[in-house]
């Protein structure tokens, strides 16, 4: 019985860590650019496809099956490319809505997400079907009567590292200072010769790259990936960020853990829970927003009258 509980707790923390990697990107983009980048989840889930494509390309080029080394290289490249993709999308579409009403930017990014998913479906060979995603880290250890897949441990560790890295970046570096300055007052930052454009690009890169890590782990965790997984993952990641309070990094993490917790709980206890998990998660989101409209740790923006 205790082993069951431990197993579920492990699932919870693993899932929470993965969601956090995506939620953090939503929060960062909102905090710095004041946009809800609705297609962030779709960008994050391009990474597994990129990695798969790269692995196949390397294997074809080397004429041999992929080795862990090439797989790692493919993963690293996929992360970097996804970061760049984030910048590209900003350049092509999102930046045109910098000063537009929030609703317009929101609808535009929803549409952008649709376009991204469809592009994957059309461009990736056999895009409509699910594809198997091998785990980079195989094997497991036994602890406290629970089988702990090494993959889960790595996912949690990497997630913690990434988030910690983000905190250090934002809090202790000059770049972080610039990012915070731009997020608070774009024009004032400009007067201090901080170029907002450059900061935006860096922010997009970081958010997309970290999201890519989350996307890769998610695909590995699930074992398969399909072009429309990003709808669920994106919505959950976005919900986690909103529940925690958009713009708040700690909030994004707590929101992710809360939602992952509910997700795991429902799957473990409710009969046929897997089908209903989204219902519970979204009812939670609605509930939180009704009582705390800006999220658990969000800043309620006081309008100057």
């Amino acid at each position: 019985m205790a082993e069951q509980l431990l197993q579920q707790i492990l699932n919870w923390i693993t899932l929470g860590s993965i969601y956090a990697l995506i939620a953090v990107g939503f929060s960062l983009l909102f905090g710095v650019l004041n946009i809800i980048h609705f297609s962030h989840g779709d960008v994050a889930l391009i990474a597994p496809f990129l990695a798969l494509a790269l692995v196949q390309t390397f294997a074809a080029a080397l004429g041999a099956a992929a080795t862990p080394g090439t797989m790692l290289l493919a993963v690293a490249l996929a992360i970097a490319l996804t970061g760049l993709l984030g910048i590209l999308l900003d350049f092509l579409v999102i930046q045109r809505f910098r000063n537009a009403p929030a609703m317009m930017a929101l609808v535009a990014t929803v549409a952008l997400g649709i376009v991204l998913r469809e592009l994957i479906r059309h461009l990736f060979p056999n895009g409509s079907n699910p594809h198997a995603v091998p785990r980079l880290v195989q094997g497991s250890i036994d602890a406290f009567g629970v089988t702990v897949p090494l993959f889960n441990l790595v996912a949690i560790a990497v997630s913690v590292l990434c988030v910690a890295g983000l905190f250090v970046l934002l809090g202790n570096t000059r770049l972080g200072l610039h990012i915070k300055a731009v997020s608070q007052d774009r024009d004032a930052a400009r007067l201090l010769s901080i170029a907002p454009g450059k900061i935006f690009r860096i922010t997009f890169f970081i958010a997309s790259a970290v999201g890519a890590v989350g996307g890769l782990f998610f695909a590995g965790y699930a074992g398969i990936v399909r072009f429309d997984f990003s709808i669920d993952v994106g919505l959950i990641g976005f919900s986690a960020a909103v529940v925690g309070g958009l713009g708040s990094m700690p909030g994004a993490i707590i929101g992710s853990l809360v939602i992952a917790g509910l997700d795991t709980l429902v799957q473990a206890t409710v009969p046929n829970g897997a089908a209903y998990r989204l219902v519970f998660v979204f009812l939670l989101v609605i509930g939180v927003l009704v009582f705390r409209p800006a999220g658990l740790f969000g800043r309620t923006v006081v309008e100057k009258v």
Partner: protein, 391 residues
């Protein structure tokens, strides 16, 4: 931007005014007819180019648009009567093509959905990604009433509209405290919850949905049998064509009446500046909730007609993507402009059907269309027009 001063009293004589109205309406009807009947995709693209050209011409020469508006304004009754006549007579010129009628029915239902969303999105700038869910609730409520309790279509229609409206009110509750993007997320969440529940609950039939919804009957005439008027026999779809056209008429009426009223003004004020609206005495909470309720009411009606027309429904007819589609129609057609919204609905329903060669790219096409419109012409094909007053 065109000059917005009061247009001078109709400089066009009554005869030429009438002629202009008639010409515009007949030309529009002819265009629609051709669009429905052509098969070759090149002809479709050609027609589209013609349409686009007409729009560009109107933008370059605002005198044309002003002239047409004036003519319609001065000859309101004639325009309406002629329009109704054209709608009534339309099925007769469609060469008895049941496919064309089918397309019209779907287009008209989406026109109603787009008009419903327009109250919120166009008039009040309230994001609502749950219109598809209201549509679905209307459809399922009426289908369940018919299948389990033998309720007739004519009773199920208002009943399911009421159910959908209740859902709309529920949806409106979070809107009291949340705004903008947070509210959008709440509506998306509602939509997903509804879809998942419909997909998983037994009594809604699960993923297979509900089948065998009986066709409505009116005075002994079944809607599943051909419609015979003046000796001419029209395919059975014609029954639903007239029904959905009637609903579109009702929706247009609602839209116009609400727009040109204290309520429409309050919605517009809310959209422009919510704080200032409150300081004019507008109970913004109530008007937000009202927008949700009105949207759900009309969507519920449309859902019922859809259910009884197609005869079977499943949760996948009412997904998030459907809501996005409806939103696209409002944005592309023209926010807060009745004609624009209807044109948007027709265009975005008919186009993917006609470009069947590219049908697999339909969703991609939608996404790109929305983005393109938002970037190039955020106010839509037919942007909102300012109100006129006076006896």
């Amino acid at each position: 931007m065109t000059d917005m001063t009061v247009p001078a009293r109709a400089t066009l004589g009554t005869a030429s005014g009438l002629a202009l109205v008639a010409l515009t309406e007949v030309a529009g009807a002819a265009f629609l007819r051709q669009f429905l009947l052509v098969d070759d995709w090149r002809a479709v693209v050609g027609l589209l180019a013609l349409f686009g050209g007409a729009l560009v011409a109107m933008q370059r020469l605002p005198a044309i648009e002003a002239g047409i508006e004036q003519a319609f304004g001065a000859n309101r009754r004639f325009a309406v009567l002629l329009g109704v006549a054209i709608v009534l007579a339309f099925p007769f010129v469609l060469q008895n093509s049941s496919y064309a009628l089918h397309l019209l029915i779907i287009a008209q239902l989406y026109a109603v959905l787009a008009l419903a969303l327009n109250f919120q999105l166009g008039s009040a700038n309230i994001p609502n990604f749950a219109t598809g869910a209201s549509y679905g609730i209307g459809a399922y409520a009426s289908a369940l009433l018919a299948l389990h309790w033998d309720v007739s279509f004519w009773l199920a229609l208002p009943a399911s509209a009421v159910v959908a409206t209740i859902f709309g009110f529920l949806l409106g509750i979070p809107s009291m405290r949340t705004r903008d993007s947070y509210l959008a997320l709440v509506t998306i969440a509602f939509g997903v919850v509804v879809h998942q529940l419909l997909n998983n609950l037994e009594f809604t039939g699960g993923p297979n949905g509900l089948v065998g919804i009986p066709a409505p009957e009116l005075f002994g005439h079944s809607f599943a049998s051909p419609l015979v008027i003046f000796g001419h026999s029209l395919p059975p779809q014609a029954n639903f064509y007239y029904l959905s056209a009637l609903l579109v008429g009702v929706a247009i009426l609602f839209a116009g009446r609400l727009h040109h009223s204290r309520i429409g003004l309050a919605w517009n004020a809310l959209r422009a500046d919510e704080l200032a609206a409150r300081c004019q005495g507008i109970n913004t909470t109530w008007y937000k909730v009202l927008a949700f309720a009105v949207d759900a009411f009309l969507a519920g009606f449309a859902g019922t007609i859809y259910a009884f027309y197609v005869g079977f429904i499943s949760p996948d007819n009412f997904t998030f993507l459907v809501s996005v589609t409806i939103m696209t129609m409002v944005i592309a057609g023209g926010m807060d402009n009745t004609l624009g919204v209807i044109v948007g609905a027709f265009l975005l329903t008919l186009l993917p059907e006609k470009l069947r060669a590219f049908s697999d790219y339909r969703i991609l096409f939608f996404g790109i269309t929305v983005i393109a419109f938002l970037m190039i012409r955020p106010q839509g094909i037919f942007p909102q027009r300012l109100r006129r007053y006076g006896g």
